[in-house]
Amino acid sequence: MIEFLIQPWSWWFSGLVISSIMFLLLFFGKSFGFSANLRTMCSIAGAGKKVKFFDFDWKKQTWNLVFLVGAIIGGFIANQFLSPDDYAVAISENTISDLSKLGFEAPTSIQPSELFSNENAFSLKGFLILSIGGLLVGFGARYAGGCTSGHAISGISDLQIPSMIAVVGFFLGGLIMTFGIIPLIFG
């Protein structure tokens, strides 16, 4: 049992759990959409006084913030109790080879230290990458009216055309970044 928990979990199990979470939230009378929390955090910080978009009854989103806190705890549990000590993501050889041309070493953990080490985050380039990445995600998610959970999972499950268009956009942007911009940043 322990060994089963400690090894990486399969894609089908993950997909099954994610759809179950969506259904549980529907059953609780809510809808699965994680990026709504970013709007809520702006409102709590007082953005509603200046910008009308943030002037809403954020208390109705408290459940979603509690879900967010749970997600942080879940990440902690996964690392502390459910992962081996020296654990590296087993990505495809082709990806390792492509990334090595950009200066990334083969994975030694779940995230590249070239991007997410403390040392890197406090260099100017490293900080700009993390902050601009975050800005684009936050701006784009709200502009598109949702993120992966709201559009790719919830919206497409309801066969909504707007969500399908949004996911096409997710990939358009992702491909431009991966093949057009990342080689310029790291090449």
Binding site: F13, S14, G15, V17, S19, I21, L25, L26, F27, F28, G29, F34, L38, M41, C42, F53, T62, V66, V69, G70, A71, I72, I73, G75, F76, I77, A78, N79, I91, S92, N94, T95, I110, Q111, P112, F116, N118, L130, I132, G133, G134, L135, L136, V137, G138, G140, A141, R142, A144, G145, I156, I161, P162, A166, G169, F170, L172, G173, G174, I182
Partner: protein, 137 residues
């Protein structure tokens, strides 16, 4: 106490996102390079089960825990909004390797530098709210 169920569901979400490596920048790069099935398997499984489940909810007019009908609201029709907004999101997703959920799971996992990504995602959301009336929707 009424919020504890959301905490538990959130914990399960965080564990499964981390344990299936969906929070990994490497996995997102692998996805956008079409070099493995893994991420497509996760999202594809969730969507296929989701489509079936939502259809069943509608067919049998299921109700939620407080007895209200489960309703799905159609999103506003637009192309520009979803395509442009989605593309901006995609640029950030591929660069930071995380959409909003995985950002916070990463913080819990111990990658505290994702707090920078999360703070700026919140700033990005604020910027959208501040200039939204000037954008095509």
């Amino acid at each position: 106490m009424k919020f504890i169920k959301y905490l538990l569901v959130g914990i399960v979400f965080g564990i499964v996102m981390a344990k299936s490596e969906a929070i990994s920048w490497y996995r997102i790069q692998e996805m956008f390079r079409f070099q493995a099935f893994h991420m497509y398997g996760i999202i594809g499984t969730a969507v296929v089960l989701g489509v079936i489940g939502v259809a069943l909810i509608k067919k049998f007019k299921l109700r939620d825990i407080s007895g209200n009908p489960i309703v799905f609201y159609p999103k506003n029709k637009s192309i520009a909004r979803y395509l442009i907004g989605g593309s901006i999101f995609g640029l950030g997703w591929a660069l930071s390797g995380a959409c909003p959920g995985p950002m916070v799971v990463n913080i819990g996992y111990g990658f505290l530098t994702f707090a920078i990504v999360l703070v700026f995602a919140t700033v990005g959301t604020y910027l959208y709210g501040a200039i939204k009336d000037k954008l095509p929707h």
